[in-house]
C-alpha cells in the first residue's frame, strides 16, 4: 500500500471484492434492454442514410414509400425541421454549424439521416426506406483534416466561413525560455486515427407521446445529463415538465452513449407526428456511421524540451483534431488533454495550440478517455523519444521526473490540480510483477534467431470527475455560467427498515453503477449490498444528475450517498434518543443500530426506528415527521475558476489516478503480427470500492486500448466513403487477441473525495496505446522503428520495418 496522509480507516464493505448486484438479472436473461420494450400500438422506424459525404439535397420523392401498405408516415429532413428545433449543441457556434436530427438541404457525411419512415414493422419500414428517391447534387468532400485548414477547401458549413470551428493557443508559463535553455529538443509528428466505442447494443429509444395529456415519455438506453434534458424538450417542442426520459439498461456504452440524444429525439418527434408509440433502434450500420460518437482523430506537431540528465522542461505542440461534420461538445476532449497535459512529470511549462476542424465525417462524441488517452500517448511517445535521444532507460527517465508524494496537491502548468499520488510506488509494483531481466535476456537470445520481442514501460495519468469548466473555459466570455455537474441520490427506508436507493441518471451502461451504490449504502448502514434495492427515476421528477462519464460516477454518487445517509441517520438519532431517553449527543451508530455510547444493551436497530417513523408518529415528539427518506444533490467537490486571460484554467479535473502498464510482445517481422507474451497493469484509483469490478474495468479498457493501438479504425477513403461500416472491416480484438492481464492495485486516497475514492473507469484504454507503442519500438529497435501512428496494423508495421531496412542497408536480408 502507498503512503497516505490519512489514517487507514476500517471499512466493512468498501474495498471488498463482491459479485456485481446487477449480474443476476442479466445472467438470467431477465435484464431487458430497449429493444425488449413493446408498447400497445407501437410502430417501428427506420432512417434513410446519406450515401454521399457531401451533397446538396435537391428534392426527395417519398410518394412510393408513403403508399407502401403498412407505412404510417415518412418524414423528410425539411419536415423534421418544422417538427423539431435543432439538436442541443454545446459546440462553439451552434447557429453556424447547425445540427439537426435529420439533414436539411445538404448532407455532410456518409450515414447522415435524410428521412425517417414509420411503419408497422421494421421490415416494412426498411422496404419503404428503399423506395424513397433522393435527388442529390454531389459536392466535393473534405476528408483530410490538414487539407480542411487550407484556403479554398470545400466548406462543411458555409455559415461558419471556414472549416475551423475553434482555434486557440494556450501558453502556460515561460515556454520560450525553457526551450531556449534546453539541451535537448525532440520533435515529431504523431497521428492518432479515429476509432470508437463498440457497445454490443446500439442506441435505441421507444417514445410515446400522449395526445391526451401532452406528455412525452421516452424509454431510452442512452440518456444521461438529466439536468440538461430541458434542452431536449426544447428540441422536441414539448414543455420541459412534460418530458419524461426513462432510463433503460444499456448493453454497453464506453462513452458512446454519453449524450446520444438523436435517436431519442427522432423517436419522440415521430411519435408526436403519428400519435402512437414509436421504436427506433439503430442497426450496426446506423451506429457505426451515424452515432455522433466517434473518438478523437488528431494530428500532432509536438516538441519536448529536456536536459541531458533527463530532466524534462517543457512541451510545445500544435494539434489538429478532426471533429467530423459537427462539434456537439466543443473541444471538451481537449479539456481532458489539458487536465493531465504533463503526465506524472514535473514539466514546468507548456504551450498548446488546438485547431478543431470540421470534415465530412460522423461527428466526434465520447470514447473511454475522452481525449486524455490521446494526450497520454503523445506525452509518453515524446518522453520515450527524449530517452532515446540522450540514451537513457525508459524507467530511469520516468523516475527522474515523477512528481513526488510530498508535492501533492500539485498544480500543473495548465492550472489543474493533481490531488494525490505515488507514481514511483505504482511503477515499482509493476516492475515487481515482471521479470525484466529475464525478458531482456530472452530478447537478446531470440534476436539471434531472427525473432523480435519488445517490452514497453509507461506511466500515465487517469484523470477523474470532470467539472464542466473543461467544456466552458475555451472562450473569454462563455455563453452561460458553468454547471457544477452534480449527482443525486434519494435513500428511502421503508417501515421494515429496508433501503431503496433512487438514481437520477442512466447510470447502468454495463459498468457497475448499482454495485457501487449498494456497497456505499451497505457501508453506511451495515446491511448486505444485495439487500439494497436500486431504482432509476425518470427525468420528469429528477434531481440534478450528470451520469457516468469522465470516470465520475462512483466518486460523485459516493458523495450523494454519504450526504443522504447523514440526513437519514440524523432523523434516526432523534427517534432513538426519544425511545432510549438519551441525549442525541450520547448516541452512536454501530452494527446497524443506534445505541447509547458504550452501552450495547441500550440500542435501537434501524428496522425498529423505521417502524416507529412509518407507523407510530403520535408516539414521537411533535417536530418529527412520518417517513424516513432523504436526498442529496452532491455538487462537484473541487472546482476553481480560470484566470481571465486563460493562462491558468483553474482546477477542473482534480482526482488524478495513475497507472503503469508493461506489455511484453513479439512482432513477427514477416507479417507484422503482434502477439503477447505477458501483460502487467498496475493502477492507482485511490481507495478501492470493489477491486473485482475495478479489475473488470481495467481488463475491458485494456482490451479497447489494444483495439485502438493495433486494430480499430473508422476508415474514410479519400472520397469520403466510410469503408468500415460493419465488423467485417472494423476489427475489434476478440478474446483470441487479448492476453490474460496481470493486475495490481495501489491505493493512494484522494484527500478531497468521500472515502478517498478516485474514478477508475477508463484507465486501461488510457495506458495501453502508449505501452504498446513503446513495446513495438523496443521490439523493432534494430530497424530503428518509431511507432508514430496508430493503429499499428500488421501492414503498417511491415512498412516501418522496410523503411528501417532502407535506411540501414546492412539490415537487408
Amino acid at each position: 500500500m502507498a503512503v497516505t496522509q490519512q489514517p487507514k480507516v476500517e471499512r466493512k464493505w468498501i474495498g471488498k471484492s463482491i459479485r456485481r448486484v446487477e449480474d443476476p438479472r442479466f445472467l438470467l436473461g431477465r435484464g431487458a434492454y430497449v429493444d425488449d420494450i413493446t408498447l400497445p400500438g407501437m410502430l417501428h422506424a427506420a432512417i434513410l442514410r446519406s450515401p454521399y459525404p457531401h451533397a446538396t439535397i435537391k428534392s426527395i420523392d417519398v410518394e412510393a414509400a408513403r403508399s407502401l401498405p403498412g407505412v404510417v408516415a415518412v418524414v423528410t429532413g425539411a419536415e423534421a425541421a418544422e417538427l423539431c428545433a435543432p439538436m442541443p449543441d454545446f459546440g462553439p457556434a451552434p447557429d453556424k454549424h447547425v445540427w439537426r436530427c435529420l439533414a436539411v438541404d445538404k448532407v455532410r457525411y456518409v450515414g447522415e439521416g435524410v428521412a425517417a419512415v414509420v411503419a408497422k414493422s421494421r421490415y416494412l419500414a426498411e422496404d419503404a426506406r428503399d423506395l424513397i428517391q433522393v435527388d442529390y447534387d454531389p459536392l466535393p468532400p473534405i476528408v483530410d483534416p490538414e487539407q480542411a485548414l487550407e484556403a479554398g477547401a470545400p466548406l462543411v458549413h458555409d455559415a461558419l466561413g471556414s472549416n475551423v470551428a475553434y482555434e486557440r493557443t494556450f501558453t502556460f508559463g515561460d515556454v520560450d525560455k525553457d526551450f531556449a535553455e534546453a539541451e535537448v529538443v525532440v520533435s515529431d509528428r504523431l497521428r492518432w486515427n479515429r476509432s470508437g466505442g463498440q457497445p454490443l447494443e446500439t442506441v435505441g429509444a421507444v417514445a410515446h407521446y400522449d395526445l391526451g395529456t401532452g406528455m412525452m415519455t421516452i424509454h431510452c438506453n442512452s440518456l444521461t445529463f438529466s439536468h440538461f434534458l430541458f434542452m431536449m424538450a426544447n428540441t422536441l417542442k414539448v414543455p420541459s415538465n412534460k418530458l419524461d426520459v426513462k432510463p433503460v439498461n444499456a448493453g454497453g456504452s464506453f462513452g458512446s452513449k454519453f449524450w446520444a440524444v438523436k435517436v431519442a429525439v427522432l423517436s419522440g418527434m415521430l411519435s408526436k407526428r403519428v400519435g402512437r408509440p414509436v421504436k427506433l433502434v439503430e442497426d450496426r450500420i446506423d451506429n457505426i456511421s451515424n452515432c455522433d460518437h466517434h473518438g478523437s482523430d488528431r494530428v500532432y506537431y509536438v516538441e519536448m524540451a529536456a536536459m541531458k540528465d533527463g530532466t524534462l522542461r517543457s512541451l510545445r505542440l500544435r494539434t489538429i483534431d478532426d471533429y467530423g461534420a459537427y462539434i456537439q461538445f466543443g473541444t471538451g476532449t481537449h479539456g481532458n488533454s489539458l487536465a493531465q497535459l504533463v503526465g506524472p512529470y514535473r514539466i514546468k511549462t507548456a504551450q498548446y495550440q488546438v485547431q478543431a476542424v470540421l470534415t465530412n465525417k460522423c461527428q466526434q462524441g465520447a470514447y473511454r478517455g475522452f481525449g486524455s488517452e490521446v494526450t497520454n500517448w503523445m506525452v509518453e511517445r515524446m518522453v520515450d523519444l527524449v530517452a532515446q535521444e540522450i540514451g537513457m532507460d525508459a524507467v530511469d527517465i520516468r523516475r527522474r521526473n515523477f512528481i513526488q508524494p510530498d508535492q501533492f496537491p500539485y498544480f500543473i502548468p495548465t492550472g489543474n490540480m493533481y490531488d494525490s499520488g505515488n507514481y514511483e510506488a505504482v511503477l515499482d509494483k509493476a516492475l515487481s510483477m515482471i521479470d525484466l531481466e529475464h525478458w531482456r535476456a530472452e530478447q537478446k537470445r531470440l534476436r539471434e534467431e531472427g525473432r523480435y520481442i519488445g517490452i514497453g514501460v509507461i506511466s500515465a495519468q487517469e484523470r477523474s470527475v470532470f467539472s464542466a469548466t473543461e467544456f466552458w473555459f475555451w472562450f473569454d466570455e462563455p455563453a452561460a455560467k458553468v454547471t457544477s455537474s452534480p449527482e443525486s441520490v434519494t435513500l428511502t427506508v421503508d417501515g421494515a427498515g429496508n433501503i431503496t436507493a433512487t438514481l437520477y441518471s442512466c447510470a447502468f451502461w454495463g459498468n457497475s453503477a448499482e454495485t457501487m451504490v449498494a456497497q456505499l449504502v451497505a457501508e453506511e448502514f451495515d446491511v448486505e449490498p444485495q439487500n439494497v434495492n436500486i431504482v432509476y427515476s425518470g427525468s420528469n421528477r429528477s434531481l440534478p444528475a450528470t451520469g457516468p462519464g469522465g470516470s465520475r460516477f462512483t466518486v460523485m454518487v459516493a458523495g450523494a450517498v454519504q450526504g443522504a445517509s447523514t440526513r437519514i441517520k440524523e432523523k434516526m438519532f432523534k427517534v432513538a434518543g426519544h425511545l432510549l431517553e438519551a441525549d442525541v449527543g450520547d448516541l452512536e451508530w454501530t452494527d446497524g443500530a443506534v445505541r447509547v455510547k458504550g452501552v450495547p444493551e441500550r440500542s435501537k436497530p434501524m428496522a425498529e426506528i423505521a417502524a416507529w417513523l412509518h407507523l407510530f408518529k403520535h408516539s414521537l415528539p411533535d417536530d418529527i415527521e412520518s417517513g424516513l427518506e432523504a436526498s442529496k444533490v452532491y455538487d462537484h467537490p473541487y472546482t476553481t475558476m480560470p484566470s481571465d486571460d486563460r493562462t491558468n484554467l483553474g482546477v477542473f479535473y482534480p482526482f488524478m489516478g495513475n497507472a503503469c502498464h508493461i506489455p511484453v510482445i513479439e512482432v513477427d517481422i514477416t507479417t507484422g503480427h503482434v502477439t503477447f507474451l505477458q501483460y502487467v497493469a498496475v493502477h492507482d484509483a485511490g481507495t478501492l470500492v470493489n477491486p473485482r469490478s475495478l479489475g473488470g474495468q481495467i481488463i475491458g479498457g485494456t482490451a479497447q486500448g489494444i483495439g485502438t493501438a493495433l486494430y480499430e479504425r473508422y476508415v474514410y477513403d479519400k472520397d469520403g466513403q466510410l469503408l468500415t461500416s460493419s465488423y467485417m472491416d472494423y476489427l475489434i480484438p476478440s478474446a483470441m487477441e487479448v492476453p490474460d492481464l496481470e493486475i495490481g492495485h495501489e491505493e493512494t486516497p484522494s484527500p478531497f473525495t468521500v472515502h478517498g475514492i478516485k474514478g477508475g473507469g477508463e484507465g486501461g484504454r488510457m495506458m495501453t496505446p502508449a505501452a504498446l507503442s513503446a513495446a513495438i519500438d523496443d521490439a523493432l529497435a534494430p530497424f530503428g522503428v518509431r511507432c508514430n501512428e496508430l493503429p499499428a496494423t500488421p501492414e503498417r508495421i511491415v512498412n516501418w520495418i522496410e523503411e528501417g531496412r532502407s535506411r540501414q542497408p546492412e539490415l537487408t536480408e
Binding site: R122, Y123, H673, S734, T793, E795
Partner: protein, 290 residues
C-alpha cells in the same frame, strides 16, 4: 438491417428441391448454412426473391469415402468435416483448412459446399479443394454434371453453376500415402478471412518432390494454382534455397487487389510467407514429421 421480402421454400427431399429450383430458374437461390447469404440479405446486398432451404435434406448430410474419393454432401457442415476421422485420413489438407475458417459457431452452420458455391476469393476451402483437384457435382432435374473445381469457380463470387442446379457434393481424391500437406494463412485476427493463405500438397519419392500442388487464396479474384511454384518444387529436397525459390515463384506475376487489410504489395508478401511456411510444414510431414 432487415432483408427485403422473399418467398421461402423448404423441400424435404432432393427430388423435390430440384423440382422447385427447376421451376424457379433464375429466381431460385439455395439457402444452406446461411452464414454468407443471410448477412448479405440483411445488408440488402442480396435480394433473392425465392429461397430454397436445403437444411431438411438429410440425404445430403454425409462425408464418406469410397473408391479413392472423399465425397462431401451439400448438407455436411464445416464442423462435421473438421471432426471427421474419415476426412482426416483421406484429405488432411482439407481438415487443416476448415479449422481456419471463421469461428466454431459459424462452422456449426456453414456448409462445405456452401463455401464452394459462394466462391469468396479469400475463402480457405475453395483454395484447399483446388490444391486437391476436387470436383463439384452439380445436380438438376435434368441430371448431373461433374465439374473440376478450377472450372467451377469462374471469378469473385461467381461460378458456372446454371440456374436450376444445386451443388450436391464435392469430391476430393484421397491423398496418397507419403504425401505431405499444409494449409497456412495469415489474418489480422484469429478466425477472419485470410489476407492470404496457401494450400500445399507434396508427394515425395525418395526424399524428392515428385508432385506438388500449391494453391493460394486472397491474392486474386478466385483461388489460383501457383504453377510456377509447383514447377520449381519438382525434384526439390526441401532446402532453404528451394523453399525461398518456390515461395518467390508462387507470387510472381500476382497483383492482388488492395483492400483495407492490406495493399497489393502486402498481400503478395503475406502470400509468399504463407507459401513458404506451408511448404516447409508439408515437407516435414511428408518425411514423417509433425
Amino acid at each position: 438491417m432487415k432483408p427485403a421480402p422473399f418467398a421461402y421454400h423448404v423441400p424435404s427431399a432432393l427430388t423435390e428441391a430440384l423440382a422447385v429450383l427447376d421451376e424457379l430458374g433464375e429466381e431460385g437461390r439455395v439457402l444452406a448454412g446461411g452464414q454468407s447469404l443471410v448477412p448479405l440479405m440483411n445488408f440488402r446486398l442480396a435480394q433473392p426473391t425465392h429461397l430454397v432451404d436445403i437444411n431438411r435434406l438429410d440425404e445430403l448430410d454425409y462425408i464418406r469415402r469410397d473408391d479413392g474419393v472423399l465425397a462431401i454432401g451439400a448438407r455436411a457442415r464445416q464442423s462435421a468435416l473438421e471432426r471427421s476421422q474419415e476426412a482426416r485420413g483421406a484429405a488432411p489438407l482439407l481438415v487443416e483448412a476448415v479449422a481456419q475458417v471463421a469461428h466454431p459457431p459459424v462452422r456449426h452452420r456453414g456448409t462445405v459446399c456452401g463455401s464452394v458455391a459462394h466462391a469468396d476469393p479469400a475463402a480457405e476451402l475453395p483454395a484447399a479443394l483446388l490444391a486437391l483437384d476436387a470436383e463439384v457435382v452439380a445436380s438438376s432435374r435434368q441430371g448431373e454434371r461433374r465439374i473440376p473445381i478450377h472450372e467451377f469457380i469462374s471469378g469473385p463470387f461467381t461460378t458456372t453453376l446454371a440456374p436450376g442446379e444445386l451443388v450436391r457434393e464435392v469430391r476430393v481424391p484421397v491423398s496418397g500415402a507419403g504425401s505431405g500437406y499444409a494449409f497456412a494463412e495469415f489474418s489480422p485476427r484469429h478466425g477472419d478471412f485470410a489476407v492470404s493463405g496457401a494450400a500445399v500438397l507434396l508427394q515425395l519419392e525418395a526424399g524428392r518432390v515428385e508432385r506438388a500442388s500449391v494453391a493460394l487464396c486472397g491474392v486474386a479474384g478466385m483461388p489460383v494454382r501457383a504453377a510456377g511454384a509447383e514447377q520449381s518444387l519438382r525434384g526439390a529436397r526441401g532446402s532453404e534455397e528451394e523453399l525461398e525459390a518456390a515461395a518467390a515463384a508462387a507470387v510472381e506475376g500476382l497483383t492482388p487487389s488492395a483492400d483495407l487489410h492490406g495493399g497489393s504489395a502486402y498481400r503478395r508478401r503475406i502470400a509468399r510467407v504463407c507459401v513458404r511456411r506451408a511448404i516447409n510444414l508439408a515437407f516435414s510431414r511428408a518425411r514423417g514429421g509433425a
